[in-house]
């Protein structure tokens, strides 16, 4: 496949890895921000090509992982409301709330549907004028433009039966919060290429100079990730801390301006809770006043739902790289991929799930004997 195969070449990967090994003289901890990058690292075994000095800390960039329990509980309450068609991206369906997940709501009679685009949910609202259609609008800056467009179109067409439960999070404030943490170990960032394709990287030079931290905009294919790591290590070894774009075939400094304008119009920056981390100031988006009619939180009056994260779960420490998953007392006991307590066990590429699956400390129960 064009634009994919050439970025998966095993020989070139080995060459870049060799170069990385040659320039690495001391231990470095790098955070890849995006869940997509973590997925690529796990799936291709990129970490195994790196010298032992380089530690990859899997960042909080998986939208499934960081969506707070409280928002999931709100989603479950809305989805269980009679007459509602609740639309979501597929992988949110299995994320557990306090006592169940969206699959369970569906089995109990809720109309929960997987869509591939929020605009599909808008079409459903057009087709079912007598039903409330709600889209679960989560994710980073990457998924935001399509979500903003969906709300924008609904307002323009006066589709009063369409609303969105919004839990958007932003990357730059998260990087800032990680760097300000007193226990931070991260020395450099691979910034999320897709986020930057929308937002550009004009926000990053300030972060890099404030925290004296190298930031390399990085893509998702094996060669992209390796090249991002190579450039990051080169900066670290030279004592530099600049912003570099290693994903220039997709990302420009300015990003997608029309998308940014739409985002500014539809969303307002707000404080956001991140699952396992807590509230980070100005780290998310909510619908702006002009679009409040399409805000599912108000339409369904779920603003009163408040949920505490599990006190046992130490995913925040794992996300910041201060403990390994196996150091958590709940790991493999109260917390497994089937019964996750926190962000990092929820998603298959979360650090805890990866450790669990790799170590197989607890044998997964085989489901039945029928094939």
């Amino acid at each position: 496949m064009k634009y994919l195969t050439e970025f998966r070449d095993g020989e070139i990967a080995q060459r870049i890895a060799t170069e990385i090994r040659q320039v690495t003289t001391q231990p470095w901890a790098i955070m890849e921000v995006c869940g997509g990058q973590t997925h690529s690292i796990m799936r291709n075994g990129i970490d195994q090509l790196l010298p032992p000095e380089i530690e990859l800390i899997h960042g909080p960039g998986c939208p499934v992982c960081v969506t707070p329990l409280e928002v999931i509980d709100k989603a479950l309450a809305i989805a269980a409301t009679p007459g509602v068609i609740f639309c979501s991206f597929g992988d949110m369906l299995r994320v557990p709330g306090s006592d169940r997940d969206l699959f369970r709501v569906k089995s109990e009679g809720g109309d929960v549907r997987v869509v591939y685009s929020p605009l599909d949910a808008v079409s459903l609202a057009r087709q079912h004028p007598n039903r409330q259609v709600v889209f679960f609008g989560i994710g980073f800056e990457t998924t935001a433009p399509a979500n903003a467009m969906a709300v924008h179109v609904a307002k323009r067409e006066k589709l009063r039966n369409f609303s969105m439960l919004v839990s958007h999070v932003l990357v730059p404030p998260a990087i800032d919060a990680i760097m300000r943490s007193p226990v931070n170990r991260v020395q450099a960032f691979l910034a999320a290429g897709h986020v930057c394709s929308v937002m550009g990287f004009w926000q990053y030079p300030m972060l890099a100079s404030t925290h004296q931290v190298p930031i390399v905009i990085t893509g998702f294919e094996p060669l992209d990730v390796l090249e991002g790591i190579r450039r990051t290590i080169a900066q670290l070894e030279r004592g530099q801390h600049t912003v570099e774009n290693a994903y220039a075939r997709v990302v420009t400094f300015d990003g997608n301006r029309p998308a940014q304008e739409l985002l500014e119009q539809v969303f307002t920056v707000s404080d956001r809770a991140w699952r396992g981390i807590g509230i980070i100031p100005n780290s998310g988006w909510r619908l702006s006043e002009a679009y409040r009619d399409h805000d599912a939180e108000y339409r369904f009056d779920v603003t009163g739902i408040h949920t505490q994260e599990s006190a046992l779960c130490r995913s925040g420490d794992v996300l910041q790289g201060t403990i390994k998953p196996t150091s958590c007392s709940a790991f493999g006991a109260q917390c497994t991929p089937r019964t996750p307590l926190g962000a990092t066990m929820v998603s298959s590429e979360g650090a805890c799930a990866a450790y669990f699956n790799y170590g197989r400390t607890v044998q997964l129960q085989r489901a039945g004997s029928a094939r």
Partner: protein
């Protein structure tokens, strides 16, 4: 409910079928078609019997009596609820034949007869049922099995998905056949009979309205002929498995666990069609976990690997066969893949079905 006596199959094609008179009064299924009265009988007489046992006019009885050769009998059952009912490369009818025939073939049995149970939803168009039934009959003829008895029930509109089909099957095994997952032995070689993920992605792209430059067609096919060709060339096949739901990764995980061995997969060696790969990339799915309905995994002794490969490749259903891995002493019970970068990754069983990823 009804039985159909032994009869040599006669070739009829779906195109030749036109709705016979009594059925023409009912352009769609009504509750009475499952009521056991005249309407039920008309469905059997004018649709099921002409399709499954053309020319057979013997009386319908409560059960069919079979004469089977040999002592070792294999039996299996499977239920089919696929949506859409008709998809590129097949229908729920042919799928119901292939699924059960293949389950029998994977134990080394020669499939002989099938039963067919239909649950029809009130309102199902008669013409669509006829297409499905005739596709089912065609599939049975091609697989060399007879559909010898059946049953029909009708559920109220909204209580079914058009058609559900259950098929049970019986096959016979030679005395010297010992094919079982726990026979996977360190040093054995793992083969797949062709490209993976075709069925699952054909269904999904049809369901989601995705279009690609080349259409993805289900690989739904009967594998008994392919197994016979393989076993003629390599009599001591250790393990056979058709990687249906859960795909190749799930099947190999099960075998590794059952045999207490490790399986090492070469990701680069997996045959995957470009359109399937592209669709999987787009939806964030892993082809290793996508369903197949016309592919088999074979585990054979290392010294028979090349013979096995060429016997598969010389059969029309195995032209893209490949050696994809080996059975190893390391990591017992686990499936590990060598990635395109030469690194290794553990491939675990999915908890439920694969979900499209947000990012």
């Amino acid at each position: 409910m009804s039985t159909i006596a032994e009869q040599q199959p006669v070739v009829t094609s779906m195109e030749e079928w036109s709705c016979p008179l009594p059925l023409r009064d009912y352009p769609s299924i009504v509750m009475g078609h499952g009521g056991g009265g005249q309407l039920s009988a008309e469905l059997v007489t004018h649709l099921f019997r002409p399709a499954f046992a053309p020319g057979d006019t013997s009386a319908l009885t409560d059960s069919t009596v079979l004469m089977l050769p040999g002592q070792r009998i294999a039996c299996t059952t499977d239920t089919f609820v696929v949506q859409p009912l008709e998809f590129p490369g097949g229908t729920i009818g042919s799928l119901a034949v292939h699924g059960t025939v293949n389950d029998l073939a994977m134990s080394g049995a020669r499939p002989l007869v099938l039963t067919a149970g239909f649950i029809l939803e009130e309102g199902l168009p008669m013409a669509q049922l006829a297409r499905i039934v005739h596709d089912m009959a065609r599939a049975a003829r091609e697989a060399g099995v007879r559909i010898v008895c059946g049953d029909t029930k009708v559920v109220e509109r909204g209580h079914g998905d058009g058609v559900y089909i259950n098929t049970s099957g019986i096959g016979v095994l030679d005395d010297d056949v010992h094919i079982a997952p726990d026979r996977a032995t360190v040093g054995d070689v793992v083969l797949v009979s062709g490209s993976i993920g075709d069925h699952g992605m054909a269904i999904m792209s049809q369901r989601e309205g995705l279009e690609f430059e080349t259409a993805i067609i289900s690989d739904s096919a009967p594998l008994n002929g392919l197994v016979e060709a393989l076993r003629t060339a390599v009599p001591d096949v250790h393990v056979l498995r058709d990687p249906t739901r859960g795909g190749v990764a799930t099947s190999l995980n099960e075998i590794a666990a059952d045999a207490g061995v490790g399986i090492m997969l070469e990701e680069q060696a997996l045959p995957i069609r470009p359109a399937v790969r592209a669709a999987c990339e787009l939806l964030g799915l892993d082809p290793l976990f996508v369903a197949n309905e016309g592919k088999l995994l074979a585990i054979v002794p290392a010294d028979a690997a090349n013979t096995a490969l060429s016997s598969l490749r010389s059969h029309p259903l195995g032209t893209d066969a490949a050696i994809i891995g080996e059975v190893v002493t390391d990591h017992p019970g686990m499936l590990v893949a060598r990635t395109g970068l030469g690194a290794r990754r553990v491939i675990t069983m999915p908890i439920g079905e694969q979900l499209p990823r947000i990012c």
